[in-house]
Symmetry: C2
Subunit: 448 residues, 2 copies
């Protein structure tokens, strides 16, 4: 396969810079996972290092907080272009940024430097479930007519996590074929996200020696994206909690479900909760209908979403608690006159956190898939000698900043996320809230 974006000719120069630089392909992809409990990388920036470094230190997160080198929350600097990474050790490498900039001519622009946090938790557990499911339940006899095994990550975003997940699936399927004495098929991996996703960066981040043919597919996974019966394994991590849209009724003043003074359904009226739940069910139905046509009989869908245990009130799920606090920050700003109340009333978060029972009912109603497995994954809540409010606020900012900017204007963003950071630190949600991640494995069954 091609050596995309590699600049291996410059390794000597880099090895002078730091002896701890290592090839990502040799160690990073293999052994580490990223960003806390989400299984999804926090990409703070893909801007040039100099800018990124300044911006991050000022706006997004405090580097020194992380330099304590907690074993389960270790910061790394990763260059998406060179496929090289390094530990972030500010004291040991005080001039690292300058050195990297000096070596910039060696990188073709843009220089991509990401700050990652590696940890164990949900991603590890999900990986184990997937490997087990492939080993025990994937019936490759179903696929004998095709010499290509097609995998997709729906809502892949940008960064190492999608690449890691795809690599893991390919490896596990390959092992299965070999263990059953079959020839290994060729693999084709489709990275899907909205057309606005930064596919250019994703492409330059692909590992040079991958075992699959890579492709990108733009568009919403709530509609058709692939030809009939062309997929063998669908993966979607931390994407299906995003609704296709905010339910219309909650923005409609004349509706009993109008969500005045709130930005989410937690602690809202039953009508609001019902509107959100109905939107979720409708979106999931679209998702499953589209996939039912695209996935071959015997093919798998793995869904990983932030959710809540059966019976847990919405208001006790951490994700909802954070939304509630974010809403209260906006209301505070409205009281101060920084933004208008009208602006708050016309904004709602397009996310929903489902329970296993809800997912089960939707899958059953659809009828094209058997729910092989449903698990609640262990949730690694950030802990250590740093502000959890700051980390959570930074992560939410990284993922949702655009949405807030568009609705409220750029000028309020710093104030909003500073306020969120402080309120989160004052709250007890990390102790009292429930942060469950749901893992669901679906098997496409032949329907009569």
């Amino acid at each position: 396969m091609n050596n995309y974006g590699g600049c291996t000719g410059q390794l000597d120069l880099k090895s002078k810079f730091t002896v701890t630089y290592k090839h990502v392909t040799e160690e990073l992809w293999e052994n580490y996972h990223f960003v806390g409990n989400t299984g999804r990388v926090t990409v703070f920036t893909t801007r040039p290092y100099s800018e990124a470094f300044t911006t991050q230190r000022l706006d997004h997160t405090d580097f020194p907080l992380y330099t304590a080198q907690k074993a389960d929350y270790e910061p790394l600097l990763y260059c998406g272009f060179c496929n090289l990474f390094d530990r972030y050790l500010q004291r040991l490498l005080p001039d690292a940024p300058e050195q990297l900039l000096k070596s910039r001519p060696a990188h073709k622009p843009p220089l991509q430097i990401w700050l990652l946090f590696r940890t164990r938790g949900a991603a590890d557990a999900a990986k184990e479930h997937i490997n087990e499911a492939i080993a025990e339940k994937l019936d490759i006899q179903n696929f004998s007519s095709s010499n290509t095994f097609r995998v997709t990550d729906l809502g892949c975003s940008v960064g190492p996590n999608t690449i890691l997940a795809m690599q893991n699936i390919v490896d596990a399927v390959e092992l299965k074929y070999q263990s059953q004495g079959h020839n290994t098929p060729e693999f084709q991996v489709f990275f899907n996200d909205h057309a606005s996703n930064d596919f250019n960066t994703l492409f330059t981040s692909l590992p040079p020696h991958r075992k699959y043919y890579a492709a990108a597919v733009p568009g919403s996974f709530y509609s058709r994206l692939f030809p009939n019966a062309s997929l063998h394994f669908v993966f979607s991590s931390y994407a299906l909690q995003c609704l296709s849209q905010v339910p219309k009724e909650v923005l409609d003043k004349s509706s009993p479900a109008w969500n005045k003074g709130r930005i989410h359904y937690s602690n809202a009226s039953d009508k609001v909760v019902q509107s959100y739940a109905a939107q979720y069910a409708k979106d999931m139905e679209c998702f499953l209908n589209a996939r039912a046509q695209e996935v071959v009989y015997g093919g798998f869908i793995v869904i990983i979403i932030p959710g809540r245990p059966n019976g847990l009130p919405h208001s006790q799920a951490i994700a909802n608690m954070v939304g509630e606090i974010l809403g209260s920050c906006l209301l505070d700003m409205a009281k101060k006159g920084t933004i208008s109340e009208e602006k708050v009333d016309t904004f709602n978060l397009p996310t929903y956190f489902a329970s296993p029972q809800e997912v089960e009912a939707i899958v059953e109603r659809n009828g094209c898939f058997r729910l092989e497995r449903m698990e609640i994954l262990p949730q690694a809540i950030p802990s250590g000698n740093f502000s959890r409010g700051k980390v959570t606020s930074s992560q939410i900012r990284a993922g949702m900043e655009g949405m807030f900017k568009e609705h409220f204007g750029e000028e309020i963003i710093d104030e909003l996320f500073d306020a969120l950071h402080k309120k989160l630190d004052e709250s007890s949600i990390f102790e009292s809230g429930n942060g469950s991640t749901l893992f669901a494995l679906l098997n496409r069954i032949a329907t009569v």
Copy 2:
């Protein structure tokens, strides 16, 4: 299908701006071709309109030159985001740029405005050949085992031309299926180019109501890009004249093929010409070997390349003449001391313009394809009341600027292309040179 990037809700606003705005999908994609004789669009910029407008007027081309409204060379402004286009009529719409900027909030950023030139010529002829080949020679019985028809554009670049070409192939194949009483298959179209191609822009430019599932595949077409036997129709236009690399010998001082004082093989020693021809043959062999594995039996490859008629000396092909003049501009600058002679000696253009005989021999040697058709397409050399040197210089700058910047530095670019423009205008190459476009149709045959 999804309505990618459409902002149809803003049509009223736009229709106030100009009554000549039209839906691309309704007329533009159907009826027009772009950029002179190449079948490939000249994308001057994808920057915001304000920047683009200024930059273009200053650096790249003189808008007024084109406002004469020659029937066969008409300038258009195209918004890749709205999928709308308009004639560029400076006098009729003097405030067009400002108006569009005012309406910018209606566009999600980035606003994509391209200046295109539409014309008839090679692209039309190629389209006719393709339609004829599909109607008469594509044996769809070969594909009965698949309900998906897979097409790719290798070296697609960004802009309307790839989308137009793919749409045409899909339409023609659909017609063929219908005319033979078969069910229409689903179509999947893979847009391929180097990982550095602007796929993000390409994705936001896809027509909202397309008849195919779209995907992008990053990487060099001189190596494998797709699974075995997965493609039915391969298309490549104005891409295969680019070599995978400059032949090593021509940069090697100790080699008899060292190309001192020149940047291309035209008028160079036989050894240099042989090195280029050998690199071309080797690259084409890699291309055909990779495609032989990827294309199903009975599948087609259409190759469109700038070339030269059999027997024509390299030095009489327009493309080579332009390279020769470009080299002389660089030598002039070396004499003046603007750049070093060493810099010129270490630079060579990685392009080769083949004859039908050469292509035929390479296809025959490969043995996996039957050459169904080889044509020389009519070449529409720009003519009219404007500077052809300026147009040609601008087109070359648009395509190759990056390569020159990287080797010689940004500061010489304006001077270089100004000099090229003037030398081209003083030359008689548009009268005396030969600018042939080759069209080749290959059919994947079963090999014993």
